[in-house]
């Protein structure tokens, strides 16, 4: 029992050494680590947002809005299809709650043809290579003359997946414009995106930048309508829409529904200054399709005002003085310099597929994070000191063994955290502290057992052997219960709380090694060296 084969000794020292080597970088400042030679381990523990400051924003994509958008498009497609077939119809309606678009066919003779063609609107999920066999639409007959197109669950899930994917890409491009280090943008659950940006100070600006849908449209102002009159009478001409500017008070405009060019055709957009007025502006460039469309539209409408619309608000409505053929232009809308640069980022990054709402926000300032690190470190060192003193007071030399093992245990925790790139949070530090209690508990169990065995009259070596052996099952059993609740915590927890579960789990597992194997090795060396007649315990 107390005899260690050579390979085991090497293994134990190897693990201890590796733990210390991987933990060491954490003792140095990040900047001084960079000047170290490349063979030195560089990984340091990532600090959680609560320790280094930063923003944690959980966004949710509005599913209903997405369905509504889809149904609107679907309705247009149904109208288009039936118009092309010259089939007359009635009661073309949509139902968001039921996720359906329904239509009635007037002539019974047209029904089969309409049904056949509307069925073609349904696409297999996952494209034509889709393996699931499911379609995104369910087209069915309703009564004698009705046809119902229903968005299927599979179709909705697929659209949600691609919308979330696209949102993540867009958000990433926007957050990157801030130039912060290592932002993390991840999907969470079905319709959520978690954005974590360490070390950011202006969270309001970040939220504004991410929250903007960024849907840009160029549309004509209806020259025949009087906006003020329309506001009063509430009679908007057909094919027109009443929109307001972003000013306070908002200025009403009557805008054509037809979109000349949209943001999808933008290839670049940059902030700049107007050469004449020196006012901050945003310049943009279209792709070839966009440029062609814009050129034609401006040629046809010289002298008329058109509107630049962002997310349903009129940014500006200049008059077309001459055809714009080069495919580039500028937006001026009384911007401040940061507004212009944020708008340029929004346009450049493309529109979000649907509106995102913040459902959870946790922001910590850098100063609070620094305070937390300071007080956490102070509390940990104080706790360590108390435990070490107490263990020595209670068990003398054997307490010293336990204390050495405890320090190695803490080094191992930091080594593993650095190696797996896990995040250390304030509750995580508390987890390390709790581990200190649990780790020495194993030694308390062993030492108490040894005392009992000595009292029962066994020899020193036999007592120690029996002590380690009999305490082992108890240690495993008792650590298992803590591990079970920690695993549940890991599964439930998010962010900071999860950090607690991580350090506690690593700590408990490491303590099985340090408190049992490592101390036993120390005790066995000591026994061989001192050959004591009595055990000082």
């Amino acid at each position: 029992m107390l005899h260690f084969p050579q390979w085991k000794v090497i293994l134990v020292f190897g693990v201890v050494l590796a733990g210390i080597i991987f933990a060491l970088p954490n003792l140095f400042a990040r900047s001084s680590m960079e000047s170290m030679p490349s063979w030195v381990p560089h990984h340091q523990v990532n600090l959680g947002l609560d320790l280094q400051g930063g923003a944690h924003l959980l966004y949710q994509l509005d599913e209903n809005e997405m369905i509504e958008d889809w149904l609107n498009k679907l309705r247009d497609e149904v109208r288009e299809t039936l118009r092309k077939d010259r089939i007359s119809y009635t009661d073309l309606t949509q139902n968001v709650a039921g996720r359906t678009v329904s239509v009635k066919i007037r002539q019974a003779t047209d029904f089969d043809k309409a049904y056949q063609d509307l069925r073609k609107l349904s696409q297999p999920v996952g494209g034509s290579f889709g393996l699931s066999g499911a379609n995104n639409l369910d087209v069915s007959q309703n009564g004698d003359d009705g046809i119902v197109l229903k968005v299927t669950d599979a179709g909705l899930t697929q659209r949600m997946n691609s919308a979330i994917q696209a949102s993540i890409e867009t958000i990433r491009r926007r957050v990157d414009a801030f130039g912060t280090t290592e932002p993390s943008i991840q999907r969470q659950g079905r319709n959520r995106v978690l954005v974590q940006v360490p070390g950011i100070s202006d969270v309001e600006r970040l939220k504004k930048l991410i929250g903007e849908t960024g849907k840009l449209e160029f549309r004509m102002v209806d020259p025949g309508a009087n906006a003020q009159q329309v506001v009063e009478t509430k009679q908007v001409p057909i094919d027109d829409e009443l929109l307001y500017s972003k000013d306070t008070p908002p200025v009403p405009y009557v805008i054509r529904k037809q979109v000349l060019v949209s943001g999808e055709n933008l290839v670049d957009s940059q902030p700049g200054f107007d050469q004449r007025t020196n006012e901050p502006i945003v310049t943009f460039r279209f792709d070839s399709t966009g440029a062609k469309r814009f050129a034609r539209a401006t040629q046809e409408n010289v002298g008329l005002p058109f509107a630049i619309i962002l997310d349903g608000k009129v940014v500006s409505a200049p008059v077309i003085r001459e055809p714009i053929l080069g495919g580039s232009g500028q937006i001026s809308g009384h911007f401040t310099v940061p507004e212009a640069s944020d708008l340029a980022v929004t346009l450049r990054s493309g529109a979000l597929p649907a509106k995102l709402t913040v459902i959870e926000e946790r922001t910590v300032g850098a100063s609070l994070g620094a305070d937390s690190i300071a007080s956490g470190t102070k509390a940990t060192l104080l706790g360590l000191l108390l435990v070490v003193l107490f263990m020595f007071a209670a068990y003398g030399l054997f307490g010293l063994f336990a204390n050495i093992a405890l320090v190695v245990n803490i080094a191992l925790i930091f080594g593993v955290l650095s190696l797996i790139g896990s995040t250390l949070t304030l509750p995580g530090i508390a987890g390390i502290v709790l581990t200190m209690g649990i780790a020495v508990d194993a030694n308390v169990l062993i030492n108490e057992r040894i005392r009992e065995e000595i009292r029962s009259g066994k020899s020193p070596v036999a007592s120690i052997e029996a002590g380690y052996q009999r305490a082992m099952t108890t240690i495993i059993d008792s650590n298992m219960t803590t591990l079970i609740s920690t695993l549940v915590l890991f599964w439930l927890g998010s962010g900071a709380v999860r950090g607690f579960a991580v350090t506690l789990t690593i700590g408990i597992l490491a303590s099985m090694f340090t408190a049992v194997t490592l101390t036993r090795l120390m005790v066995s060396y000591w026994l061989r060296w001192a050959r004591p007649a009595l055990i000082p315990i």
């Binding site: 609560d50 949710q60 309001e204 939220k207 709402t357 913040v358 459902i359 959870e360 926000e361 922001t363 910590v364 300032g365 100063s367 609070l368 305070d371 937390s372 007080s375 956490g376 102070k378 509390a379 104080l382 706790g383 360590l384 108390l386 435990v387 107490f390 263990m391 209670a394 003398g396 030399l397 304030l426 509750p427 508390a430 709790l434 209690g437 649990i438 508990d441 308390v444 169990l445 108490e448 009992e452 108890t474 059993d477 008792s478 650590n479 298992m480 219960t481 803590t482 591990l483 079970i484 609740s485 549940v488 915590l489 439930l492 927890g493 998010s494 900071a496 709380v497 000082p536 315990i537």
Partner: protein, 316 residues
């Protein structure tokens, strides 16, 4: 050579189980009074479970003018608003009740920031919308229940069902006792409180397992000893360990209560309390419950190899 101080003498003979009438009353009170407290006084639910906005600010002047801040924020008509000092005299915690929608909630921060201006430093802002808070309530409850069931299964697997039931009963005692502390001191009950409770469950059980282990061992060793005596013997034999291990964990955790900072104070205090109440329930709840549940004599030989070994020995 220094052999260590024997804090607890080796041969204590305290009648923990013999004097159980008194401890039953105390344990019952420790379980019921917290429930009454929660029922009558209630818990101070944090924004994790209630939804709402929490803003921690630090003012430039050394003592924050709470009345002024209160007047400014109350003027916004955002519903219930709490303003309190947080740690230092120039640290202020502002809590704004949940707004009906996520959008209004976001607007409420902007409004508070507008009236407080740039003269204060915004140290922390937390916003939990109604969607998340209801999910967190469900998640937290499920986690505690699942942890309990998983532990019950483990103890049942390793020991007899009587031990498992005793463990769960004492865990309920620990959990209600901890929740009672939250209610009594009106500590904020949030996600980290659930973490504290889960950890207390795991840690406190760790201790019970050690005593159960000893009871099982003694059941095997002393076949004729009356159960009351045997339980007392087992508790006394492990008493030194029980006390020492709780003292070390207590010592490790206590600095967090004292100097760990306001952000983790509630969590650390709950842990420390849980350590104390866990030690109590190991001695006075988990072990004596065996009497009522009537643990069987052969429970020490539950595992098949052990049984085979004894049979072999009997034949020899």
């Amino acid at each position: 050579m220094f052999t260590g101080i024997h804090f607890i003498p080796a041969d204590t003979k305290i009648g923990f189980v013999r004097l159980r009438t008194i401890s039953w009353v105390i344990s019952a009170l420790l379980t019921v009074v917290p429930l009454l407290l929660v029922w009558k006084v209630g818990l101070n639910f944090g924004i994790d479970f209630q939804g709402g906005t929490l803003i921690e600010i630090q003012t430039k002047e050394s003592v924050a003018d709470l009345a002024d801040i209160r007047a400014k924020v109350h003027g916004l008509n955002l519903g219930e608003v709490q303003i309190q000092e947080f740690g230092a005299p120039n640290d202020v915690l502002i809590r704004v009740a949940a707004q009906p929608t996520e959008k209004e909630q976001q607007e409420s921060i902007a409004k508070v920031k507008q009236v407080l201006g740039d003269q204060v430093e915004y140290r922390r802002i937390e916003v939990v919308g109604p969607t998340i808070s209801s999910e967190l309530i469900a998640g937290g409850t499920v986690a505690v229940v699942i942890a309990m069931i998983a532990i019950l299964m483990y103890i049942w697997f390793r020991f007899e069902w009587q031990f498992a039931v005793a463990a769960i009963a004492s865990l309920v005692h620990d959990v209600t006792g901890t929740i009672g502390l939250y209610s009594l001191l009106q500590l904020e009950f949030n996600l980290s409180s659930i973490a504290a409770i889960l950890t207390i469950i795991g840690y406190s059980l760790n201790d019970k397992v050690v005593i159960f282990d000893r009871i099982r061992e003694n059941l095997r060793k002393y076949k004729k000893m009356p159960l009351t005596e045997l339980l007392d013997l087992s508790i006394n034999e492990t008493l030194s360990r029980t006390v020492l291990t709780h003292v070390t964990t207590f010592l490790a955790m206590m600095p967090f209560v004292l100097v760990g900072g306001e952000a983790i104070f509630g969590f650390a205090l709950a842990m420390v309390w849980g350590i104390v109440i866990g030690a109590y329930s190991s001695i006075y709840v988990a072990a004596p419950l065996q009497l009522i549940l009537g643990v069987k004599r052969d429970s020490g030989m539950a595992s098949a190899p052990a049984r085979a070994k004894t049979q072999a020995r009997a034949r020899a």
